[in-house]
């Protein structure tokens, strides 16, 4: 875990209200694994007060990218960061996806900006020699971000691209006919989607890891602000920022 000021190399709007911000952050980049996140202070004002968490989207040497939409004050400021501007970043945070292990094919499932961790995840899975299939869901075609991904199938709410409906339905249609292989699902997206996906993974008894979100005050495990309920075990809750953000779908109650 590292804290420092890192230079913003660029911010680009790559689709309507979808931005990619590139940071020059060698100390963080070298230690980042797929599914980990950065906690970014968007300004030195007290509004926004807290840092804003963002998954690492893509890594290229000393460069790290995040992808985000403007939803409020913090992301508004980030979207207008000037090139060269130093950003106060803590990271990498959280525990990564399990990319190794004895599965042949990785199934990446993302809803909306849940696509964020998928490019860096894809890169690491390839290093591990895993086959990869990617299922993306979004409101409409403009919100589908395919870069750095492999074998992408798409679902949109309005049918403007690919299957009309949810990405989980898309996967449900695909799985039965899919060639027999040992698989593992890696997912990130809105809670309702992750809930549905957990059930699906259960039905087909496919291993499934989920990256979860929660409002966070610290992002480093000192505020107890980001609980997720555990299915069983001694503790009732785990902390998403410290014990996650990645959890086995069988371990958590969404």
């Amino acid at each position: 875990m590292n804290q420092g000021f890192f230079r913003c190399e660029s911010v680009r709007e790559i689709a309507p209200n979808i931005y990619i911000l590139t940071l020059h952050a060698p100390e963080i980049a070298e230690r980042t694994n797929p599914g980990q996140f950065l906690n970014i202070r968007t300004g030195d004002n007290f509004i926004p007060l807290l840092r804003r968490p963002f998954s690492v989207y893509h890594r290229d040497g000393a460069r790290l990218q995040i992808i985000f939409s403007v939803v409020g004050a913090g992301t508004k400021i980030l979207a207008s960061s000037s090139v060269g501007h130093p950003l106060d970043v803590i990271g990498p945070l959280g525990n990564p996806f399990g990319v190794s292990g004895d599965f042949e094919e990785a199934i990446l499932v993302a809803g909306g900006l849940g696509v964020a961790p998928m490019p860096i995840l894809t890169a690491e899975l390839k290093k591990e020699g895993k086959a990869i299939r990617t299922f993306l869901g979004a409101r409409n075609e403009t919100q589908i971000v395919r870069r750095h991904l492999e074998q992408v199938s798409v679902a949109t709410d309005d049918g403007s691209d690919g299957h009309r409906g949810t990405v989980v339905d898309l996967l449900r249609n695909w799985l039965p006919g899919a060639p027999k292989r040992s698989r593992k699902i890696f997912a990130c997206g809105p809670t309702p989607m992750l809930r549905a996906l957990s059930l699906l993974a259960g039905e087909f008894s496919v291993a499934c890891e989920l990256s979860l979100e929660s409002p966070m005050a610290c992002g480093i495990g000192i505020c107890q602000g980001c609980p997720v309920e555990l299915r069983d075990g001694a503790k009732k809750y785990a902390l998403i920022c410290r014990d996650g953000t990645v959890f086995n779908s069988n371990d958590v109650v969404l």
């Binding site: 202070r41 007060l49 409002p215 005050a217 107890q224 609980p227």
Partner: protein, 314 residues
């Protein structure tokens, strides 16, 4: 270099900057990002007799220059603290102040007695902002008699410095300070969080699972300063000032208002080394303003006399 040492009862702090309970874990949770040996002391997360799960999500929401929390005093319990955390804390060169929370007077006593058997605890801070289950959940800290009883009972059990942490959600906080001073507390810490609430106007639901939560951060600093000043006029025992302290200037303001030491809370979430930076800043501030001992600043606020009651109309 100015002398930053301050005293709270028999406890000497190497400097007046502590981290506030619940905002720095158990003290050893982010070694990569902070050097606890630089600060005056660590106040632990509130410890209860048994582990507490805490409240369901959501527990956190940001507000204008502040935040609401509804953690529900989630903590590992005093035994795991002693087994798993205290050994590490003992290795630090800073005061370790164990904060205790409970749902009955007996529980307060049991937790303190358990801690008394262990080496490495410099002092106790008692979080009285807890519901008394025996009294149908009435908050201990809003009732002078119950607050007095907790202090009296705990005072009997320890010779170590005993700080009572007061809640600001009362009409006259100085009344509570007087009561606990009368019962032999070595000092008071204030303020704890203010009861607040946030609403999602789209979903038409509260943003916190518990509807209301505790407000902290820069937004509450003016209220905290007023409470500290009120208490400083009422009691002689040392005050630990808390509430929206984000930087050196804020810390100085609390000292001037009458605090002997300060605690940094919400600021730790934004910058885990905030308290260390304040220690440095305080040293610089003293040197630049010709202050030899930081204690010169305590209560040094210059107030014109004869601010009349009618003027106190707002």
């Amino acid at each position: 270099m100015a002398d930053l040492r301050v005293r709270i009862g028999s406890l000497e702090l190497k400097n007046p900057v502590l981290v506030a309970s619940g905002t720095f874990g158990y003290g050893n949770d982010c070694p990569d990002l902070s050097d606890v040996n630089a600060i005056g002391g660590i106040v632990t997360k509130s410890l209860s007799m048994k582990p507490r799960d805490g409240n369901p999500p959501d527990r956190i929401v940001e507000t204008a220059a502040g935040m609401l929390n509804s953690i529900g005093l989630a903590n590992i319990g005093v035994d795991d603290f002693i087994a798993g955390k205290l050994p590490v804390l003992r290795g630090y060169d800073t005061a370790i102040i164990a904060n205790i929370a409970a749902s009955s007077v007996e529980e307060y006593c049991s937790v303190l007695e358990r801690l008394e058997q262990e080496a490495g605890i410099s002092a106790y801070e008692i979080n009285v902002s807890c519901p008394n289950v025996k009294e149908g959940g009435l908050n201990f800290g809003t009732n002078p008699a119950m607050t007095a009883e907790i202090t009296r009972r705990l005072r009997k059990l320890t010779a170590k410095p005993l700080l009572i942490k007061l809640t600001p959600n009362v009409t006259h906080v100085s009344e509570f300070a007087r009561v606990v001073a009368g019962e032999g507390a070595d000092g008071v810490s204030l303020i704890n969080t203010l009861v607040g609430m946030a609403i999602d106007h789209r979903k038409r639901t509260p943003k916190l699972s518990t509807v209301t939560g505790g407000l902290s951060g820069p937004a509450i600093k003016p209220i905290a300063l007023a409470k500290v000043y009120e208490v400083a006029q009422a009691v002689k025992i040392p005050i630990v000032g808390i509430g929206g302290i984000m930087n050196t200037e804020d810390a100085v303001e609390f000292l001037l208002a009458g605090a002997t030491a300060v605690q940094v809370g919400t600021a730790n979430f934004i910058d885990p080394s905030a308290s260390m930076k304040i220690v440095e800043g305080l040293g610089r501030y003293c040197d630049e303003s010709g202050v030899k001992q930081v204690t010169e600043l305590v209560g040094a606020l210059k107030v014109k006399t004869g601010v009349s009651v009618l003027q106190s109309w707002i």
